[in-house]
Each structure stands twice: as structure tokens, then as C-alpha cells.
């Protein structure tokens, strides 16, 4: 009942095209996250859905109704803003009740709804306070409460956690996810933080300069990135990249720096179609480590350690592949007991079952069926 559909939606501010024709279907009850670097148009797109920005062209519908010409108050959505946007002159209770009062709900209904929402968020004891008397985390809860009481078709969140410190942020992340399970409303959530996106979303929209690059589940985004941009945006640390050329009938990747890697058998056919092309080779850090078992697709290479970053549970190592001066440098994830030392030479295992190829110019992924 509350699906959100975008049809060729575009936006320009004067001569500047900020959103460049986006098609998107969000199912009822789905948690969708818009993610992308700062300035890519996430907020603008969200505000267009909210009705706070006009739509230059295209159509947006919410719950089956085209809302292009409806003001925000008639779109039946609620929004949580980055800076909370609580009404400073109203108490916590009145902040939450404001939308209900405007809709002229009976007083007992207002009381019930506000009390319920406050119960969920554990802010009942704050009712009499003014926003300035609250901590950042409490303000965030009130802002969410104000959205919940409305029982809208969809919740829109614009970077709601970016003003909180790291600990509170992960706590609120869990709360938001619980809230979604509990209420089941459609949620559209904007963030520039890929961790938030991966942990919260049913599906993720990756935006780059006003274009939709990929719309997929977190698994799809992570394991089957549609473009180098997506691959480089997700994971921490993100995917390693190195220029490479496909040779020998699609069976070998000549990676810059004189390393030759065999293409796994199931990928040879697709690679054969790109023989001689300059492409970009990509491999995630978790597929680079010390050799343990020999298995098909696992390739051993001599490497040397350039830098060690112990994180506690794991250690990141910056590894130079091969001996060549211009050898590729990649980051791998190692067990802490691998005891990496800077300058150390050691055999490195690359799990090529998980490699990616991207077009040099367009950055789009080159991928056969079933990769």
C-alpha cells in the first residue's frame, strides 16, 4: 500500500543538473538506503520525494498516487532531519504532537499515540523538556518519535545519525532497525556511510553525481558491484584495484607490475570476449591473505609487506605483489597471529574466485552469467 515509485525523475537547479533521470521502485515495507558521497544528490532526491523540492521532470508516486503536485503535508510521509529540526519553542510532547494537532486528531488519540511512540523510544520522562535541554541522542529520539506518531505511509531519514558520536551511532542504528521490524513502514534512508547502508538496508541505491549506479541488496552491492565506483565505496577497507590486460584467450590477466594471474575456468569464456582490452582488476582485502589450503582459484604470489595496521580482531597489511618497481600494492586482511612485519617477504594467497573486472573508461563491471 505504500510503495514509492520514481519514474525518470530529474532535478536541476538553474543550469545545473543535480538528479539525472532516476527510475526506482521501492516496495511497500521495504527499507531502502540512498548512499553516495557528499554532494551526489541524495538529500535532493529525498526532499523531492518529501515534496520539499520541486520535480523538474519525471513522476514520483507514493502508495499509487502521483504526488508531483502535492505539498509535503498531503503526501503522508514523515521525515527525520540531520539536525533534528525540533521546534525549539515547544516541549518534547508538543513537538511530537504538533503534526497530530495540525490534523485535528482528538486529544485522547494524540495522548495515546504520543505515549506509545515515547514508550518505544523510551523518552516518556522527557515530555516536559524543551529541545535545548536534551542531549544529541535524546533529540534524535524525539525527532524519530515525531515521525512515528504520524503513522505515515513512509519514513524519510536524511543522515539522521551523522551528528552523533560513533558509539551512540551504532546504538541508534540498531534501534532504527528494530523500529523497522516493529512498525513495518516503508523507510527511505539517506547516508554517506556505507556501513550504515549495508547494515540497515533491504536494498541499497548507490548514487553518483545524480545518477543511479546500482540498486540492489547489500549482498549484491558488496559481492556483485555494478561499477568500480560501487566497489570502491563499499567495504572497509574498500576493494583493491589494479590496471590489467586480458590475454591468452581469456585465460590470463596481466596485472600491472608484471604479475600474471590465471582466470578461473568459469570466467574464461567471458574474458575471452575482452582479449587485449585494458581493464581494471579488483579484489577485496578479505580475498588476500596468507596461504592456508590449496583450492581451485587460489593463487600464490610472492609479496612483501609495506605497512601493517593492527585492528585487534584482524590486521590489515599493505602488500606489494611481486618484485617489480611498479608492482601493484594491495591491502589484505590477516589473522593477528600472522605477525606481519614491515619489509617481510612472504607468500600471499589471492582468492581469484572472487575477482572483479571493470571497464577502464566507463568503470562498469565486466561480468559473465553466474560470477
Amino acid at each position: 500500500m505504500s510503495e514509492v515509485t520514481l519514474n525518470h525523475v530529474a532535478k536541476s537547479f538553474g543550469p545545473v543538473n543535480v538528479i539525472k533521470g532516476i527510475d526506482l521502485q521501492i516496495k511497500s515495507g521495504e527499507f531502502v538506503v540512498f548512499v553516495g558521497p557528499s554532494g551526489c544528490g541524495k538529500s535532493t532526491l529525498l526532499r523531492m520525494i518529501a515534496g520539499l523540492e520541486s520535480i523538474t521532470s519525471g513522476k514520483i508516486s507514493i502508495g499509487g498516487t502521483i504526488v508531483n503536485d502535492l505539498p509535503p503535508r498531503l503526501r503522508d510521509i514523515a521525515m527525520v532531519f540531520q539536525d533534528y529540526a525540533l521546534y525549539p519553542h515547544k516541549s518534547v510532547f508538543e513537538n511530537m504532537a504538533f503534526g497530530l494537532r495540525l490534523r485535528k486528531l482528538p486529544e485522547h488519540e494524540i495522548q495515546t499515540r504520543v505515549n506509545n511512540a515515547a514508550g518505544i523510544l523510551q523518552i516518556n520522562h522527557l515530555f516536559e523538556r524543551k529541545p535545548r535541554e536534551l542531549s544529541g541522542g535524546q533529540r534524535q529520539r524525539v525527532a524519530m518519535g515525531r515521525a512515528i506518531v504520524r503513522q505515515p505511509k513512509a519514513f524519510l531519514f536524511d543522515e539522521p545519525l551523522s551528528n552523533l558520536d560513533a558509539l551512540l551511532r551504532s546504538e541508534m542504528r540498531v534501534e532504527i532497525k528494530k523500529l523497522h521490524h516493529r512498525l513495518g513502514n516503508t523507510i527511505i534512508y539517506v547516508t554517506h556511510d556505507q556501513v550504515e547502508a549495508m547494515t540497515l538496508a533491504d536494498r541499497i541505491v548507490v548514487l553518483q553525481e545524480g545518477n543511479l549506479v546500482q540498486y540492489d541488496t547489500p549482498d549484491g552491492i558488496y559481492n556483485r558491484p555494478a561499477a568500480k565506483f560501487v566497489a570502491g565505496f563499499t567495504g572497509s577497507p574498500p576493494m583493491n584495484f589494479a590496471p590489467c590486460r586480458i590475454g591468452e584467450g581469456g585465460r590470463v590477466l596481466h596485472v600491472a607490475g608484471g604479475v600474471d594471474l590465471p582466470v578461473p575456468a568459469r570466467c574464461v569464456d567471458e574474458c575471452a570476449r575482452h582479449i587485449g582490452r585494458e581493464v581494471i582488476f579488483g579484489l577485496r582485502p578479505e580475498h588476500i591473505g596468507v596461504p592456508t589450503v590449496d583450492a581451485p582459484g587460489i593463487e600464490r604470489i610472492d609479496g612483501s609487506v609495506l605497512l601493517v595496521e593492527p585492528l585487534g580482531a584482524e590486521t590489515l597489511g599493505l602488500i606489494k605483489l611481486g618484485k617489480h618497481d611498479k608492482a601493484a600494492e594491495v591491502t589484505g586482511r590477516f589473522e593477528p597471529d600472522a605477525r606481519l612485519q614491515v619489509g617481510q617477504n612472504l607468500p600471499i594467497a589471492l582468492d581469484l574466485n572472487h575477482f572483479h573486472l571493470f571497464d577502464c573508461k566507463t568503470g562498469l563491471a565486466i561480468r559473465g552469467n553466474g560470477w
Binding site: R47, R73, Y84, Y87, P88
Partner: protein
């Protein structure tokens, strides 16, 4: 001499100069209004009235219809202020919130207009009001007063609106307000200090205005206070104590208004609505 004052001393000194400069005339008028005319012209002069009398105040009410002047002034100043604040709130909103082209040009023009000498507008305004048949009606003053205070009120309110986070309005609009609703339910209450500042400016402007009041209203019972007070002087005589009493009567409403609203004018309301 040693001029090595501390910072504190300097601040106090400046404050005292401002206070004396501002209050001395008012106090002098108050004292004068309590003296008899004979005491006033006697030499050597007395500073405090020898036998304070309220007689001048009585005479002020009997010699001229000052009650009526007062009413006229309140009506004219009050309504022109309301009109001016309403319009300048909308104008200030447009200038700060809607992405208006030539916004800075418009702001500069407003500033320029607010410096326009009133005297140059007198003749055209008089002609317009006569054509409209508005002479000797409240509208003849309400309209021009509202317009004359518009630029400065708009600028004052714009500077206050600018400090209110746009997301507050966005939140109100999502919550269920129309754009204008959000303006009057959220922006204006938060900009209350600015709104009251603008309102007081407009009110005082209207209250003090003389030239237009003299020109537009020639029937005695339509006179406003500023003009009415001049009626106390005779052809050859200046009954200073009587005029002083009338002046004090004219001052009272302004003092009341400022006393009532000064708390509101003190800012700090917006703190805490956004992250901070």
C-alpha cells in the same frame, strides 16, 4: 592626568553618558510638567519643583481633547504597525527563504528607500489621499505609515529569519503546515524578538510622525498626539509646563509598550532546536 582606565570603567562611563543623554530631556520635561508656569520662569531656576502640582495634567485634558488625540494615535500607530509587520514578515520570508533572483539588489533598494526624505513624498501623498477621499480618515495615516516603516521592518525581520534553520520549516511542512502556516506557526514565533523589534520600530515611527499627521488631518478631532500637542501653544505664549504634561502623556503608551515587550525582545529562543 592618568587615562589608564580599566575596561570596566570605560564601559560604565559610556553607559552613563548614553543614559544621561537619553534620560535627561525626558526627566527635565517630567519635572517641568510638575511646576507652575511662574516657577518655571523664575530666576534663579529651581531644579526640583517647589510644590509639585498635577494641575498641568488636568489642564492638558480640558484645554484640548487630548484623550481623543491619544485614541487617534493609538489607532493609527497600532493598525499601521500591525499592517506593516504582517507585510514585512511575508517580504522578509520571501527574501530569505524563497530562492529569489536579485535578492541582494532588492535588499539594497529597500535600504535606499528607507533613507528617502519624507518631505519629497508629502505632496504626492497628499494628492493621492485627497483623490481617494481619505483625508481626515485614519487610513490617510495608516497606509503611509505602514509603507514608510516597511523597508526597515523587512530588513530587521530578514536578519532574524536568516538565523532560523530552514529545516525547521521543512519539518513543519512535512508535519502538516502549508508554507504560510509554517511561517506563522514556526518561523514567526521563533523570530519573536525580531518581530517585536520591528513592531516597536514601526509603532514608534508612527507615534512620533508629525509632517504627514499635520497634512492629512486638519479636523481637530482627527489630530494625532504629535500634532495635537502643538495646539496647546497660544499665538504669543508657550505654556511650557502644560506642553510638558502633554508630552509626558504622549510618552506613557510608548513606555508601556516597550516595558511589556522588552522581555520578548531578548533573544535566545532558537537555541537547542538544531544540533548545537
Amino acid at each position: 592626568m592618568n587615562f589608564n582606565f580599566s575596561r570596566r570603567t570605560t564601559v560604565w562611563l559610556a553607559a552613563i553618558i548614553v543614559m544621561v543623554n537619553g534620560f535627561f530631556p525626558a526627566v527635565w520635561i517630567l519635572l517641568t510638567s510638575l511646576k507652575t508656569e511662574t516657577e518655571l520662569i523664575r530666576s534663579p531656576i529651581t531644579y526640583l519643583p517647589e510644590a509639585a502640582t498635577l494641575e498641568n495634567y488636568m489642564t492638558a485634558f480640558t484645554a484640548q481633547p487630548i484623550g481623543r488625540f491619544l485614541l487617534n494615535s493609538v489607532v493609527v500607530a497600532g493598525l499601521s504597525t500591525a499592517l506593516c509587520v504582517l507585510i514585512s514578515a511575508l517580504a522578509a520570508y520571501a527574501l530569505t527563504r524563497l530562492r529569489m533572483p536579485h535578492r541582494n539588489l532588492i535588499m539594497s533598494l529597500l535600504l535606499a528607500i528607507s533613507m528617502f526624505p519624507l518631505i519629497s513624498l508629502m505632496v504626492p501623498l497628499f494628492k493621492v489621499m485627497r483623490e481617494l477621499g481619505l483625508l481626515n480618515t485614519y487610513l490617510a495615516l495608516i497606509l503611509p505609515y505602514a509603507v514608510l516603516s516597511l523597508p526597515v521592518c523587512t530588513l530587521v525581520m530578514a536578519s532574524f529569519f536568516q538565523d532560523i534553520p530552514p529545516d525547521l520549516e521543512a519539518a513543519a511542512m512535512v508535519d502538516g503546515c502549508s508554507r504560510v502556516g509554517a511561517l506563522f506557526k514556526v518561523v514567526v514565533p521563533l523570530a519573536a524578538p525580531g518581530v517585536f523589534t520591528a513592531g516597536i520600530l514601526a509603532f514608534v515611527n508612527a507615534w512620533d510622525e508629525f509632517l504627514l499627521a499635520l497634512t492629512m488631518m486638519n479636523r481637530v478631532n482627527m489630530r494625532t498626539l504629535s500634532v495635537g500637542i502643538t495646539l496647546y501653544q497660544g499665538e504669543f505664549a508657550f505654556p511650557w509646563p502644560l506642553i510638558s504634561a502633554a508630552l509626558i502623556i504622549a510618552l506613557v503608551p510608548i513606555c508601556i509598550i516597550i516595558a511589556v515587550f522588552q522581555e520578548r525582545v531578548v533573544g535566545g529562543l532558537t537555541a537547542g532546536g538544531v544540533k548545537g
